[in-house]
């Protein structure tokens, strides 16, 4: 469904992603790990359609379409969801209003009628239960005054509402307590269907105990320098990144 080929990206003239290639097929779970500043969130930003990264080379296709030409809101409606590493606060805009607008835009894109107020609230209730989010949060303004963990849970809640084909979760596990981590992971698993895919960006193997990846990739210095099965995460947890950095630097 998603195919990234030799992607090279700069921010303000500085090359951040040097050459990324990645193939995500329906149903797969990919984990991307890597040291701070290696470019993980930049990759996520490019896939979601932020405008500040400059694409220097490479292609990204989404079900055969050139993804890079699709505006960000349409990518969302197409089923690409980004769980933000740092969710944004929007004061004064209630979660209900925000999600209603979002859900109805998605429905419109699919040629469906907007949900009635009562159907929408029912959907909200269902999904709130699914991700065990505090009901009160859903009545507040988008992320305003939410704790770090609440913001992350709220990302999963929104994912549940939008049922994406591809969810990119950028460090959704950071800042979560043990219970919240389990809830978030369970939420992801409950929402997982055979044909939709997930890219989890994480620093901790812990999350991967719950969300079992098919592939683990290590992003280092703008490149995917290693890809393997889930056992790679364990190895990284044990040994850190030094050995990979050495391996890469020796090759260079």
């Amino acid at each position: 469904m998603l195919s990234i080929q030799n992607l090279k990206v700069a921010i303000e003239g500085k090359v951040i992603l040097k050459s990324i290639s990645l193939e995500v097929r329906p149903g797969e779970i990919h984990a991307i790990m890597g040291p701070n500043g290696s470019g993980k969130s930049t990759l996520a930003a490019v896939l979601a359609g932020r405008s500040y990264p400059q694409i220097l080379e490479g292609t990204v296709t989404w079900f055969g379409r050139n993804l890079l030409e699709i505006p960000p809101e349409e990518r969302s409606r197409e089923g690409i969801f980004l769980g933000f590493q740092y969710p944004i606060e929007i004061p004064g805009v209630s979660m209900v209003n925000f999600m209603k607008t979002a859900v109805n835009e998605h429905r419109k894109y699919k040629g469906l009628e907007p949900l009635s107020a009562s159907d929408f609230l029912k959907l909200m209730r269902e999904k709130k239960e699914l991700v065990e989010i505090d009901s009160k949060l859903a009545n507040r303004s988008v992320n305003e005054g939410f704790s770090g963990g609440e913001k992350k849970k709220n990302e999963i809640f929104q994912m549940a509402m939008l049922e994406p084909k591809l969810a990119i979760l950028d460090e959704t596990d950071s800042g979560l307590d043990i219970d919240a981590l389990r809830i978030v992971a369970n939420g992801v698993n409950k929402l997982k269907r055979p044909d939709n895919s997930v890219i989890v960006i994480t620093h901790y193997q812990r999350l991967l105990d719950y969300i079992i990846p098919d592939f683990v990739h290590v992003l280092y210095d703008g490149r995917i320098v290693k890809s393997a099965g889930k056992e790679l995460a364990l190895e990284l947890e044990e040994k850190g990144y030094e050995w990979i950095k050495k391996e890469v630097n020796n090759q260079a």
């Binding site: 932020r50 969302s76 004064g92 805009v93 607008t101 835009e105």
Partner: protein, 482 residues
């Protein structure tokens, strides 16, 4: 990022004004210019009593000694007061007693504006006085209101039918000497609405006046007088639109409110005068004096305004809190897009004991718009325990627009507590992108964010109008965000 900002600013172009049409209807106009003869002509056209003509002439003589105020943070081009037509009336068979007397073109016009003149078609629970140019075309639900003892009619009719009430109250809150535009209005005002709520009556429906400018080269000068007698309540709404024209047209209104003991008046405005085009050509100059007097104890006057239109807005709906324990409120959202300018705010004058006032002002600037909040909180010597809270927020869309605040505080009583808070914010690219990532377009994202920002004020509007105002906010900012 910079490129995106440029795109935003370049796209300022596409904002659309939906009420810019002109009704081709036979209109009776008097010659341009302003003189005692013109004023006598207006007065005789309206068949007015001598005392009213006297009032006009005094006002005119006073006006001639005055200069246009220049203290506002506005660039106002020179206005040639001799080049304006001060009276223009759509020709009608006579005063419209029944709906069948109204010219179908006029009916169509108000239908298009969403203000049907047929009672059965109208929003239930809202009575309308529809004013086109210099005259009131029709006031709906007069009979229903009369049953409750409420008088709601055009100003001209009030002068004929209730001269004592008009004499007693007109000019008691805004004397003709008050300011340049109030003096001008007092000299040439043509119509407007009059409303009297008798003792102990809770007005059974929302009252509203819809002002429409149609004729070219004319100004609109209406007066509204609203009297809430003891223990009464009324909620009143004012709306306004005008055709798109290259010329600037002057609208100089006066609104006076009197609230007696325990009376409450809610006055809401959704101001959508033609704002001029994207280059700043044309548009209405909206120079308005609005003031309420909380004359009685425990009385309350609340102003809510959503100002999206006009090329230039100069307007400070104010409260004089004379009665002990009286309450004044001012809730405002003012939008300036393209080359619009607004200098708006309020005055809260605390005279009585335990008087309280609240000011919430939300400015939104886009394009090259300039938005100023100007407010005065004045606590007089005798106003023990007066309280004021002011919150002035500015939201900037783009970096070529401006927001300014001019809060003045004068306190003469040591027991008073006056608080002022101000913030300035921008809509962040991060916020817009967050919305985009959930499937919401840039335009809709800005709409959501702006409405969220203005919600505290919009919530004060009567329900039906809150929805309208929300749409209006979005439309008036259309194209301002790329």
């Amino acid at each position: 990022m910079a490129k995106e900002q440029d795109k935003i600013l370049n796209d300022v172009a596409s904002g659309e004004y939906k009420y810019g049409f002109y009704t081709d209807i036979e209109t009776e106009k008097i010659p341009r210019g302003l003189s005692e003869d013109i004023i006598k002509l207006i007065s005789s056209k309206k068949g007015e009593p001598d005392w009213l003509l006297e009032f006009r002439l005094k006002a005119f003589r006073h006006w001639q000694t005055m200069k246009m105020p220049r203290w506002a943070n506005l660039k106002i081009p020179e206005i040639n007061y001799q080049d304006i037509v001060y009276y223009a009336a759509p020709k009608q068979r006579k005063t419209a007693e029944s709906i069948d007397d109204i010219d179908p073109e006029l009916k169509k016009t108000f239908d298009k504006l969403g203000i049907p003149l047929e009672e059965q078609k109208h929003l239930t629970g809202v009575a309308v006085d529809a004013v086109m140019d210099s005259v009131s075309v029709k006031t709906t639900f007069k009979e229903t209101l009369a049953e409750a003892g409420v008088i709601f009619c055009s100003f001209s009719e009030a002068v004929r039918e209730y001269p004592e009430l008009v004499k007693r109250y007109m000019g008691s809150v805004v004397p003709y000497t008050d300011n340049f535009f109030a003096a001008l209005n007092s000299a040439v005002f043509s119509d407007g609405s009059f409303c009297y709520i008798p003792k102990g009556v809770r007005c059974p429906m929302e009252l509203s006046t819809y002002f429409r400018i149609n004729a070219s080269n004319t100004g609109q000068f209406e007066r509204t007088l609203l009297v809430a007698d003891e223990e009464s309540y009324v909620s009143y709404l004012e709306g306004c639109t005008a055709p798109m024209r290259d010329e600037n047209q002057l609208h100089a209104a006066v609104v006076e409110i009197i609230a007696e003991n325990n009376a409450e008046v809610k006055y809401s405005t959704v101001q959508n005068w033609y704002p001029g085009d994207k280059e700043g050509k044309g548009g209405i100059f909206n120079f308005v004096t609005k003031r309420g007097l909380c004359r009685g104890e425990n009385s309350k006057i609340s102003w809510t305004q959503v100002e999206t239109g006009s090329a230039i807005t100069w307007k400070y709906p104010s409260c004089i809190l004379r009665g002990d324990n009286s309450v004044g409120e001012f809730y405002s959202v003012a939008v300036t897009n393209h080359y619009q300018q607004a200098d708006t705010g309020t005055k809260m004058i605390h005279i009585g004991k335990n008087t309280r006032s609240t000011i919430v002002s939300k400015g939104i600037s886009a394009g090259f718009g300039q938005n100023s909040y100007r407010g005065l909180v004045k606590v007089l010597k005798k106003a023990a325990n007066a309280r004021n809270f002011s919150q002035c927020d500015s939201l900037l869309l783009g970096d070529k627009c401006g927001a300014h605040t001019f809060p003045y505080i004068e306190v003469d009583n040591p027991t008073a507590i006056v608080e002022h808070e101000a913030t300035t914010s921008k809509i962040g690219e991060d916020q817009i992108f967050y919305c985009n990532q959930r499937g919401i377009s840039r335009e809709d994202a800005v709409g959501l964010i702006v409405n969220g920002y203005a919600r505290e004020v919009l919530n004060k509007l009567p329900m039906e109008f809150a929805v309208e105002a929300q749409k209006l906010l979005q439309i008036s900012l259309e194209g301002s965000v790329g």
